[in-house]
């Protein structure tokens, strides 16, 4: 091919890639064109052509930089946030956590706060509030929040301990020396930390033991539900023990399950990862008083993931 035509075709390729936002590819073609132009002697306006190309390359580099440093999770409009809530969460806790997963931490806190009044969601809401505050970068805020809870009567001692262990481990990880007060009678032993899964957007933490599980999908291998996968929300988690509250309406789903049964096919959904594993039914009871009377509480011990 005539070298002029080759140059022309390289330039039009480069131009197309630029228009499609393929900056690297565009730059490559401009460089190739300019190398070719250098080699040819008899070319009109050689210098000005080369100058024009190098200006194009520079402008591409600027655009590339902008894309590279584009925000990972900017604050969305309220409408955008509402959409995320509704598309990525089924219950109120999941909706709030979805906001956090997409980096909408401030709004997530707004949505998590009322859930502290709910017996079922309280602990998870509390932990996630702490996480969001840490993700925004306000360590002091997170610690203040914990201290306020510590002196109020919102959480049970066990729940507070669980929140404290989570927060302490995160502070330790960040290399922040800030020992949280440990109530008398409790050991400072940190080995039992089981809840250090993080939900910061695009910066998942290394996992320590079992992550926080939001929900699980059980595939039944026998009984009436054989072959089906049913998803359940996890209402409480303590280490590798998961508690599910199952409405009396859904009794049929769990009729075939009894204490000691092995569940060989479970999909675990945590805020930062999904994985498969197995569990054993540690306890199945029908709740006989309170607002959840008649519902079932199913405790699962995770045996492998």
């Amino acid at each position: 091919m005539d070298i002029r035509l080759q140059i022309k075709s390289l330039l039009s390729e480069a131009e197309l890639y630029r228009s499609q936002g393929l900056f690297l590819e565009a730059k490559d073609k401009y460089h190739a064109a300019s190398a070719m132009i250098h080699k040819v002697d008899k070319i009109k306006n050689k210098e000005s052509l080369l100058k024009a190309i190098s200006a194009k390359i520079q402008s591409l580099e600027k655009k590339e930089e902008k894309v590279k440093t584009g925000p990972a999770s900017p604050e969305l409009s309220e409408k955008g946030q509402d959409l995320i809530k509704n598309l990525f969460g089924e219950n109120d806790l999941q909706k709030a956590i979805a906001l956090a997963k997409f980096g909408q931490f401030e709004r997530a806190i707004v949505e998590l706060t009322p859930l502290l009044k709910d017996d079922v969601y309280r602990l998870e809401a509390g932990k996630n509030i702490i996480r969001c505050k840490l993700a925004i970068g306000s360590v002091d805020d997170a610690v203040d929040q914990y201290n306020r809870w510590d002196s109020a009567e919102l959480f049970t001692a066990d729940q507070l301990a669980s929140i404290r262990k989570y927060l302490q481990s995160r502070l330790d990880q960040k290399g922040i020396e800030k020992p949280l007060p440990v109530p008398v009678g409790e050991s400072v032993d940190n080995n039992t930390i089981s809840n250090s899964g993080g939900i910061e957007f695009s910066m998942p933490e290394p996992e320590a033991e079992l992550l926080d599980i939001n929900s699980i999908g059980i595939t039944f291998t026998s009984g009436a539900q054989k072959g089906k996968m049913v998803e359940f929300d996890v209402n409480f988690q303590s280490g590798d023990m998961l508690s599910l509250i199952i409405s009396k309406r859904d009794k049929g789903l769990i009729d075939d399950l009894k204490d000691g049964d092995k569940l060989e096919e479970i999909q675990f959904y945590s805020p930062i990862a999904m994985f498969k594993g197995t569990a054993v039914i540690a306890n199945k009871i029908q709740i006989d008083s309170g607002p959840k009377q008649g519902d079932f509480c199913l405790d699962l011990k995770v045996t492998s993931t």
């Binding site: 390729e13 197309l16 890639y17 490559d28 894309v67 584009g70 955008g80």
Partner: protein
């Protein structure tokens, strides 16, 4: 995962457009939004970043009317193609029922297509799904550029690259002109509904 409401006889399923950055996922959705007014049931929402690149996802709700007595609602999503948004891609893929893999026909994007397909396989695996079993359609996009003398891969080569083992239906397309957009979506919906039918057996 599809939501199947037995009482209301209603199915809501999720179709995700996957593929490398700049391959034309958003353009597919834009064309559908413009051209299928009767089926589109709400606004198209796009959450973008610098240079119109998808940041979180695009979303478009559709209704297909009744199929065998069941109301079918479809949610279309695109993922962000840029490598660095891998955690978002995974989030958006959660609960997917059918996938359209949009491949870029530009020769210079050959590697990117393959990397993205591998990324899809890995992400599906983390949700316990196999790329060989999930309803999947491939679209070879940007075919219109052949007329402008831009180096494109042949459809055969792209199928060799991407579809040799998968052997899923594949269609040439030009999202910007709208060619192939409808058939691709239709094929994906058919595969998806077939697989949901197996799972839920709603049409007896």
């Amino acid at each position: 995962m599809a939501i199947f409401n037995l009482k209301k006889r209603e199915i809501e399923c999720k179709i995700v457009y996957y593929g490398p950055g700049r391959c034309g996922k958003t353009t597919n959705l834009e064309y559908i939004f413009k051209s299928y007014k009767k089926q589109v049931t709400g606004e198209m929402v796009s959450i973008n970043t610098e240079g119109d690149r998808t940041l979180f996802f695009d979303f478009l709700p559709m209704g297909l009317g009744k199929i065998k007595g069941c109301d079918i609602r479809v949610q279309l999503y695109t993922v962000p193609g840029q490598i660095k948004y891998s955690s978002t891609r995974k989030l958006v893929l959660r609960g997917v029922d059918g996938i359209i893999f949009v491949a870029d026909s530009l020769e210079v994007r050959r590697e990117k297509n393959m990397t993205s397909l591998k990324d899809l396989q890995a992400n599906l695996k983390e949700y316990g799904k196999s790329i060989f079993r999930v309803p999947l359609i491939i679209q070879h996009n940007k075919r219109d550029l052949a007329d402008e003398g831009i180096p494109l891969m042949s459809v055969e080569q792209m199928d060799r690259d991407l579809n040799r083992q998968l052997k899923v239906p594949s269609f040439p397309g030009s999202a910007i002109k709208g060619t192939g957009v409808g058939v691709t979506l239709k094929a994906c919906l058919m595969e998806t509904l077939k697989s949901l039918q197996k799972e839920f057996k709603w049409a007896k």
